[in-house]
Every structure is written in C-alpha cells, then in structure tokens.
C-alpha cells in the first residue's frame, strides 16, 4: 500500500483516490466541475474549503475548529507539512492586507524579463501603444519567427542599445 502511494507511476492517482476517500469520509463534498475542490458546510452556516494541486493543498474557510480537525486527521493519514498562512501557490504570491487579499506574480515577471533580455529596458506606463494598428495587412513579416533563441536575444540587444 505504501509503495503504491509514493513510489510508482500510477501513484499520484492512487494517492488522490485515497485522499478523496479520506476527505469525503470527513463530510466534505467533492466539486462536480473541479474534482480537486472539496467543501464542507458546518452548523451555523460556516464553510470550509479545500483545494488540491498535485501535492499542494490550500485550506480556507471561516470554521477554525473544523480546519484544525481536518488538518489533524490528514496528518494522521498522510505525510503533510503545514506551511502556515498562504504565501505562494501555483507561482502566485499571496499577501493579506487590511483592505483584502492581494495576488501578484513578481517572481514570474522578473524571470520573464530576464529570459527575454528585457531586464534593463525602459519602463512603460501602459501595456499598449494606443496608435498601433495590429489589424492592418501589409506589416513587416516577423523576422523572429522560428529563429533560435540565441539570435533572437542578440537581435533584442541590437534593438535596445540604439
């Protein structure tokens, strides 16, 4: 049993199957369109929500007692690690502010700028030039199509040194 949960190619499926059974047994309902979403309503109109992505689980809701109970039960059945309040999920940074919850992707953006050689570029206040006419025919055929990445970056350097 242990081997099929952690060591084989079909393990993720077996793990998720076992996880689903465990969570359902604790009174959670599996989402019909998103099967990795589990919801439990508790008396008093409180709600606990759980979503799974591969081996990451996000747990939220307004029923603190239920959340503690679920965490304890899961820890008894699975190898889990509580990472505290949500800070990072699917490459998205999450911050709790007084006015709400903010999500951003700073790391992703910086990596993207690095990858495209744009780390030192001149910043722009808006994402699009209001005068660009992308829909008109007869533009200049893109030189960059299917050109290997290295020459693409050299070309970029040329553009931005000017």
């Amino acid at each position: 049993m242990k081997k099929s949960l952690y060591g084989l190619k079909q393990s993720p499926r077996a793990w998720f199957e076992k996880f689903t059974q465990s969570v359902k047994k604790q009174g959670y309902t599996q989402g019909e369109s998103d099967h990795t979403l589990f919801v439990k309503y508790t008396p008093g109109g409180k709600i606990t929500i759980l979503i799974v992505y591969v081996n990451d689980i996000v747990l939220t809701g307004d029923d603190v007692t239920e959340m503690v109970k679920l965490r304890r039960n899961l820890a008894a059945e699975f190898e889990i690690k509580d990472l505290g309040s949500l800070k990072y999920f699917l490459g998205i940074e999450i911050a709790r502010l007084k006015k709400g919850i903010s999500v951003s992707q700073q790391k992703y953006v910086l990596d993207l700028l690095q990858e495209t050689g744009m780390s030192g570029c001149r910043p722009a206040d808006t994402p699009m030039d209001p005068n660009s006419k992308l829909w008109e025919k007869g533009g200049h055929t893109c030189r960059h199509r299917k050109i290997p990445k290295v020459s693409w970056e050299i070309d970029l350097l040329g553009t931005y040194k000017a």
């Binding site: 006015k99 953006v109 700028l113 570029c121 994402p127």
Partner: protein, 68 residues
Amino acid sequence: MHAPYEEHLDAVYRILRYLKAAPRKGLLFGKTNDRNVAIFTDDWAGSITDRKSTSSYCTHVWGNLVTL
C-alpha cells in the same frame, strides 16, 4: 496566431516594458458589501475589415475581478 508581423512583436515588447514598470502589480480581492455577479463585454464582430470578434469580457463576483 497565424500571421505574426514585426508590429505584433513590438506590441509584445511594449507589454514587457509595462511589466518592467510594475512587476508587483496584481489583483486585489477586497472586502466588499457587494453581493452581485457583474459581467461586462464590448463589441461583438468589432473588426470592420473581417468582422472577426474583437470583443473581450470580464466578470466580477462580489465586486472583485474573477475572469477576463
């Protein structure tokens, strides 16, 4: 994309320059008293040259953007 032109690549560079200006910009899911779902959309078949759709939409739940 079936006919990428130099102009399209320039548009992409412009987006990257925008990201450079605000790499931490994101979405705020604020506390609201709004309990509605709101959906906004613009022109359908908006392109006068080929009548292809140029429209977009965005949906808000409880005053916060959820899809775009």
